[in-house]
Structures are given as structure tokens and as C-alpha cells.
Symmetry: C2
Subunit: 368 residues, 2 copies
Amino acid sequence: MSLQIIKPKNIIDLGVGQPDPNLLPTSLFQPLTFHGQDLAYGEEAGDSTFRQTLAAWLSVDYGKPITADQLIVTNGSSSALNMICAQFAKPGSTVLVEDPTYFIALNLFAERGINVVAIPMDDEGIQLDALDCALQQHQPAFIYTIPSYHNPTGITQSHERRQALVALAKKYQCLLVADEVYQSLYYQKKPPPPLACYDNDAPVLSVGTFSKILAPGLRLGWIQGEGAPIQKLLRSALLKSGGGLAPVTSALVGPLIANGEFQAYLASLRQTYQIRLDTLYEGLKTSMGDKLQMTKPEGGYFLWATLADGSHVASKLAVAEKKGVNFLGGALFSANQGYASSMRLCFAWYGVEELEIACERLAQVFRG
Amino acid sequence: MSLQIIKPKNIIDLGVGQPDPNLLPTSLFQPLTFHGQDLAYGEEAGDSTFRQTLAAWLSVDYGKPITADQLIVTNGSSSALNMICAQFAKPGSTVLVEDPTYFIALNLFAERGINVVAIPMDDEGIQLDALDCALQQHQPAFIYTIPSYHNPTGITQSHERRQALVALAKKYQCLLVADEVYQSLYYQKKPPPPLACYDNDAPVLSVGTFSKILAPGLRLGWIQGEGAPIQKLLRSALLKSGGGLAPVTSALVGPLIANGEFQAYLASLRQTYQIRLDTLYEGLKTSMGDKLQMTKPEGGYFLWATLADGSHVASKLAVAEKKGVNFLGGALFSANQGYASSMRLCFAWYGVEELEIACERLAQVFRG
């Protein structure tokens, strides 16, 4: 399901967490000229010109100075998380995650034999008291957090929460891995900066990607950080053997950032997704009223909705399919078997008209 | 050193195992048209049209029928080996390798806490008696072998050796991982087919890449196999999360295979490298005579040369630098601390004129 490219005819699948194929900027990538160095084994951290270009854009977008040497170019955020697991965890290690969290991160940890301890969240993100206890109790390989427009809840950590979280990671010298793939998908005001921008002496790696803001097929992303964690990643045998992870795709994207076409595309994407978010949120308020509890996110891909009566959404999946709508049940995202009454609804994959229909269909599904 | 793009001025570095930057086909990649699906999350195994195109070329090149469903598209062979380690080995596992073997594979295994047992080679490849003993003694996660134009020795496994090797892997149900990155770089007659072509019921994965035959900066390769090992790779969380590993670069290369431009480029590359191999081999015979023992490889990147007097090449590295030449000492490739009198000389990175000078300089280094 996660890899469908052609939208199915009879169902509006709000479970798909992907950009709308109709929004992918095929025309941006022409004309194209490769230079010899784009085709060769590249620098381990990624082409330095590309990293400078990327750093310049990130500095503007984050409102914080980022330098090229704080960046490692990756094959998207999945590859980045995979690399981080390989370097910083092993079977039997413990990773602290949010409850709920990105379900495929849970798959990735499970596949590697990594134990997961899930820390509750509130409306400012991961709860620090519970995190502090867990840091004392376990010796985690790292903390995995999604600070902005959290997947699946849409919650954005406040500035104060981020400061305290980074301070805690520093105090315990525990690596903090921030999955920031939605960071630049703000629809009105910017979120606070990525966690790696808070304290250069804290062990923090922020993972970014072009998948949600340009095109997932590029498999192009970055890890931002300082000091020992970045140096450890740069010494990995994978980079020693293959060189930079993405010379050709960096060469495709670099010019689009340098000439501003990427930024213009991203601005239009923010407008489009804002309208879609409004449509889904208002549509569900209209069609379902107080049967559904929601907090409207300020960016990202996902609206998190919880049945007010506490009934379980999974029991309605068959009805939903019959009615022609789909969603991901909250339990999928919980390492603690929680959130059975919640669902993750993606507003990025469909246009306004289909989202309006989906709201009607969801209301029918949960009517009785 | 392994990532230099601009050749250093005063030294001819035969230690660099890279394609000559002057041979990289920058003009092949124009014009370019992406379709929406190239930019989206792709099929886990890689775009099916691309895999069909790749399979059709491999079928011709290998002289064996290959189908699209036997292929997983990867980010080059390093990424493939990394994926295979993640899925089939863990800290404390044992991997059987050849002695000598690709040194960065040794780094990769060490980094993951994987133990290595090195099996001696003869002039037909890995020695099967020793391998059989090791298979009985250890329960290896897999066997790692380089069948064609072995790195560093240049040895190519005979057809009979391949048959027996695959039969042994099947008998012990031990995964056989064949690093076939030089398979298509034959200069006269083709080598026997990749190990994954021998027995569809044996647990074999053959790793291929466009790095040596088109452009390393693409980070584009493939894993060829059947049954359980391929299915296990396809279920990995990395693919579930990010989809196909290389949608955009597949879209760049597919048309070049379909229209034959890639094959024409590869044919010219074979001619160029044949001449360079001849130059290095004949040059060293002339300049060093029977001081050096060599077997001329029939493809690949490397000439393996051993000092007849048994002295250690490492002691000459400082002199070599002074004379303006470099090589990789054989000990680097040996998990058994062997091969100190051997060196790996790459003939792909430099043109004829520089290779001739290098032969003279090497003779001076080892003169006295």
C-alpha cells in the first residue's frame, strides 16, 4: 500500500503518507548537465559545493546559521536512520521513542533486534520527566524523536521543550536522533529550529530529506550535526567504499536550490497543502462534529483524529473499505499497544475534492 | 585517498581503484526527461520497467536468462553489501572470505562486529577443501566471494570451481554472497556466469553495479537472486520506508541501456582498459623482469604483483612516494596478515603514458 503510484479508483486512502504524484515537479529537472565529478565517486560527506548550497538554504529556512561541514548527504531519511542504527546501536540495544511514533522506524528497530522503550507525549511533544526516568533506567543507544509535525500526531515540540530535551541528551550524553523530515513543511509560521541547532556541544543528529519537499524518488537527504556523532558516521565503511551517497542526485538538485526554483516550488507546495489540511480538518468538523477529537497541525502531512467515545478504529476498517475510504489505525504507531481509538489521516496525497468526499465517507463509517 | 577526483600532480597512484575521470560519460545523460513515477516512492525492488531493461542486458552479457523478478535495484555494491550484512549477519556472526579479499569489505564486517575467517585461494579462486572445513567448523552467516577479476588478485573462478562452490553453499544451506562488480569488464573472452546463475535452489546473491562500467556517482547497482534470500531483502524496513532505492538514477540509466548507448560505451571502455592492462603488464615485465611474479588478469581493474625475493612491499612505500608512484600493499587485503610481498596495481585510473612512467618508477623503487 505504501508504494502505490496510481491512486486506486474506488477508495480514498488517507493512510498513504506520500506526496501527491500530480504535484511532483517533473519539469524542474530540465535541462541537465552533469560534470565529470558528478559521475565519479564523491566526497564521503557529499559534494562540498552541494553541501554549501544546501547549508545556505537551510540557514534561511531554519533561521539559524548552518555550515556545509555540519552536513552529510544521504539517500533520504530512511537511509540516514539505517546508517545511524548501524553505527550507534546493535542487537539488544535500547532506543527511546515517542508513543506514538513513525511505525516503520519501529519496524527498522525490531528488524535489528533493538529494544524500544516508548515515552508518552503531551501537546508539546515527548514528556521530559518520563524521558529522564528512562534515561536513568536504561542506557539507551539513542533517543528517536520527531520534533516538527510529528508522524503520526502532528504535534510540534515547543522551543522550551526542545531546549530542555537537548539539555537532557547532553546531561546523559545520550545521542538524540531527530527525524525532521517535515520541518520545512510549515504552512503559516515556522516551527522552532531543528534540534541540531540548539547546542553544538550536545550529541544531536537531525535528519532531513527532500522526499516531502521536492521528490521522494531522488532518495536525497542529509544528516546535520557536530562533533563525534558526525565524525563516526563519516568513518563508516559504507562511505569509505562507495564514497558520497548521492553524487548524481545532488547534482540534479543543487542548481534548483541555487537558482531559487526549488524554493518557489516549496512555497507553492506549502500553499497547496495548507488548503488540503484546512479542507480535511474543517470537513471532519462538519461531518463528524464532536465525535472526533482533533488538534489541527501547523504543517506536515498528517491529521491525528481520535474517536471521542473511545471505541477502536480497527474494528471499522472493513466498513471503511466498503464505503471507499481508508486510514491507518493508531495502534500501528504505538510500541505500548495504545492509541486504538486514533487514526492517522494524510492530507497530502489527495486533492480538495477527494478530501471532501473522504470526510463524508468517514462520517458514514463511524456513524453507528 | 580513495576519493580523490583530481589526480595528484607528482605521483602516479596505482592504489586508487576508480575509473579514470576522463572516461566518465558526461554527454550520455542528455537530454533527460523524468516522468512522475521516477520522482515518487518507487517499487521496493526497483522500477519494474528498469528491471526488465536491466534483465534483458544482463541476459545478453551473462549468456544466461535473467528475469526482472530476480533483481533488486540498489545504491551500488557497497549499499548492497551493507543491506546484506544488516539482514543476514549480526555482531558475533562469522563470515567466510577469501584470503586476500576486498579490504573495505573487511572494514565493513569489522565495523559490524562480524568475525571473519579467511580461506586460501589458488589460481581458480577460493579453495574448496578449506572452505568445506570452515563450513563444518563455523556456522557462517554467509560466504563472501569475488568470482570474476578478483579484487585484489585478478583471479577468475573457473566454471567447475563455481559449480562446486554453489553446490557446497547448497549442501550446507549457507548463503553465498558473490561480489560481481567486475563481471562485465572482460577484455577478451567472457568469464563464466555470476554465481547466482548456477542453481536457482541454492542460496546465492550476486551483487552487480554500474560503478565500474558506467559511473560510480550514480550509486546504482543490483542484487540478483532467487527465493528466500531475495524475499528477505525485499521485506527489509529500509525498503518499506523509502521504497525503491534508486528511482531517479534508474530513470537516468534505463534509456541508455534500451537505446544501446550504454553497451557501446562499455565496449569502448573494455578496449581502453585492455590497452592499459597490456601497458602495465608488459611494462613491468620489461622494467622488472623476474623480480616480479604476476599473472595477467583477463578483465577488471587490478594487476596483482608479488616480489620474487619475498621482501615486504610496505617497507618501500616511503621510497615509492619519493619516486612519485604508489600502490596498495597486499597485507591490507589479508585477514590472515599474509601477502606482505604483494601489491595491488590499478590500471584503470591512468592512461598509457602515465602507466609507462609508473613501470619505470616501480622498477627504481624495488631496484635495491
